[in-house]
Symmetry: C2
Subunit: 359 residues, 2 copies
């Protein structure tokens, strides 16, 4: 067993190219140019990625590889690209900064290919560059985001796992009970089962990463966590019983806490040791507002519950600046570091996933 | 006209004592002991405040005054206390750290007295120390918080103003469309009228403070501000039309913006000039999570729409540490500074409020 780039295993991290018309290819090119993507292979279109390298003013090489193993033979800072079959040759002529069905289709093909490789034990983790929902939609693909698409791909393979979105900043980890639905629907989705499943998924993921007994804070849904039932009863009916059930299973969960102070209490910063390791947030924005407040640069999205590690940057395709070379790669490089760390920890804690091949 | 402590007018700031069993009296005592409460008079119970001075280990004097004007004759750091009639003599024997109907009643009497004085032009502003809703309730007073109580007191005097809660940190100002209701009810309260009224109140308040054309960002309610109607339609039906109406009135309002990024964009910090001056948040926690995230120390609550300036610290009675002398007075002193600044700006911009007497 060789240690490569902090991995305890000789498996590569797969970066999916994302929407060819957005900033994904550019930030990938920057990550390679900066030396932040060692041990990674891009699943994408060679022409699009070469255009991105030119766009950032780099002269780095992009090398088309036929199998993942070929990547190990390449010199540092060369970007290895594995191109799925069926891709059109002229994708690098797609207009930048616009919704395009062709870009939506190729983004989806790359994700499917990366998932297939990872399921076959060929990838240590997947890092996804941003996709655009409207482009996916134009291509006839109805998922509102990566999380839902990855869940569905896992389900096709018989996994059918309940998955949850975790967001990490340099200071905070939060796992969301509900994500891409209206606030009205989110309230309907706050049930005993959903809250308990989220707590369990968070605890299981943390345990896979070697964090045996994470301190899990569960936020309420309503102001002041319902103030004893005065401002809503979801805390009394669903959230508190789910916390009690989780505690009954030996999970160190507590709450429900007032949403407006629990993130501050969990915050890990210099001179401010956080009280909790993970916060369970009931809604998308309760969880994302504190993650994003100090800036996108360190934000990483991690999908919990999948049979492989998947991370992504905490931003979208940013069509408005795509093609200018100005996009900031820091959230992507943070996502790569996180993928490397989580897959290494997972490997160390439990050994390779079933089906994983190590040379 | 004499300038006192940054005021352009010779009027005092009234600090209401808050719940006698909470940390209110202690943090007031600390503010005076530190010299941070010059130009302030406490509306409260002398015995309770003397107990608080002893609790923080201070030997500073507490002076009962008969009229506000008496305060000017006192030396610095002496705490002038104006005691409303009808208070029981033995309130300083109330147990610390517990819900008590007597504490609820006296807290309400002090607020009523301060409002009456301010309406009579005797106070420049009111700063309220924390009250406890259950104690109020035990005393037969049904308001969920100061904001609702102050609105009702103003209405009794024929003002009947729509009021809104503004929260300020060192980096951010946010005004809430909905406050102390369940999230379900909050969604029902997101109407064209409520959103437009909130934008107008924020713009009018800023104008009274000398900020002629504030940049007002309006957050959405749903994830991604509804993503074009995919995740809820309140943005399309109510919020966007209210923004358009406000713009038609010459207000620089924009949005609806995704709730998870608008606060980050508005944040004013070193090297990060905020894009907006005020953010309108649809729910209590969308607005309060980013205000509180970096800590309570600088958080100030300002009630907009009242005929006088009212501020308060951004925390509650903290029964769990009341009586220990450990309570942090920084949010209160920030509230005092804010009251001083806003009343001075308001005075400079428009002259004294109608009915105000200046010596």
């Amino acid at each position: 067993m060789t240690t490569i780039d902090g991995n305890a295993e000789r498996r590569l991290i797969l970066i999916t190219m994302g929407d060819a018309c957005g900033i994904g290819p550019e930030i990938i090119a920057k990550a390679f140019a900066q030396g932040d993507a060692q041990g990674c292979v891009v699943v994408g279109h060679v022409g699009v990625l070469r255009r991105a390298v030119r766009c950032i003013g780099s002269s780095a090489a992009v090398a088309k590889i036929d199998t993942l193993a070929d990547a190990w033979a390449l010199p540092p800072r060369v970007m290895p690209v594995l191109e799925p079959e069926r891709l059109a040759a002229d994708l690098h002529e797609l207009p930048i900064g616009r919704v395009d069905a062709r870009a939506g289709r190729v983004a989806a093909v790359c994700i499917e290919h990366a998932v297939a490789l990872t399921h076959a034990g060929e990838g240590a983790a997947i890092v996804t560059a941003p996709i655009h929902k409207e482009a996916l939609h134009a291509a006839g693909i109805a998922f509102p985001g990566h999380t839902e698409m990855l869940q569905s791909l896992a389900a096709e393979r018989g996994g059918a796992p309940p998955v949850r979105m975790m967001l990490c900043s340099a200071e905070l980890r939060t796992v969301l009970v509900t994500i891409h639905v209206s606030l009205r629907q989110a309230i309907e989705q706050i049930t005993f089962d959903n809250v308990l499943a989220t707590i369990r998924i968070a605890a299981a993921a943390a345990s896979r990463w070697g964090m045996a007994q994470p301190r899990i804070a569960v936020a309420g849904l309503n102001p002041h966590a319902g103030e004893g039932g005065l401002f809503g009863d979801e805390e009394i009916r669903y959230i508190a019983p789910a916390i009690a059930a989780a505690r009954g299973e030996g999970i160190d969960a507590s709450g429900p806490y007032a949403p407006d102070t629990v993130f501050m209490r969990a915050r890990h910063a210099a001179g401010h040791p956080g009280e909790f390791d993970i916060v369970i947030a009931m809604t998308h924005d309760h969880g994302l507002i504190p993650i994003k407040y100090l800036g996108f640069e360190q934000g990483v999205n991690v999908t919990l519950g999948l049979p492989f590690v998947r991370t992504s940057p905490d931003h979208g395709t940013a069509f408005e600046i795509a093609g200018t070379g100005r996009a900031d790669p820091r959230s992507l490089t943070a996502a790569i570091r996180m993928a490397r760390e989580l897959s290494a920890r997972q490997f160390a804690a439990r050994g390779p996933l079933s089906g994983a091949k190590t040379p």
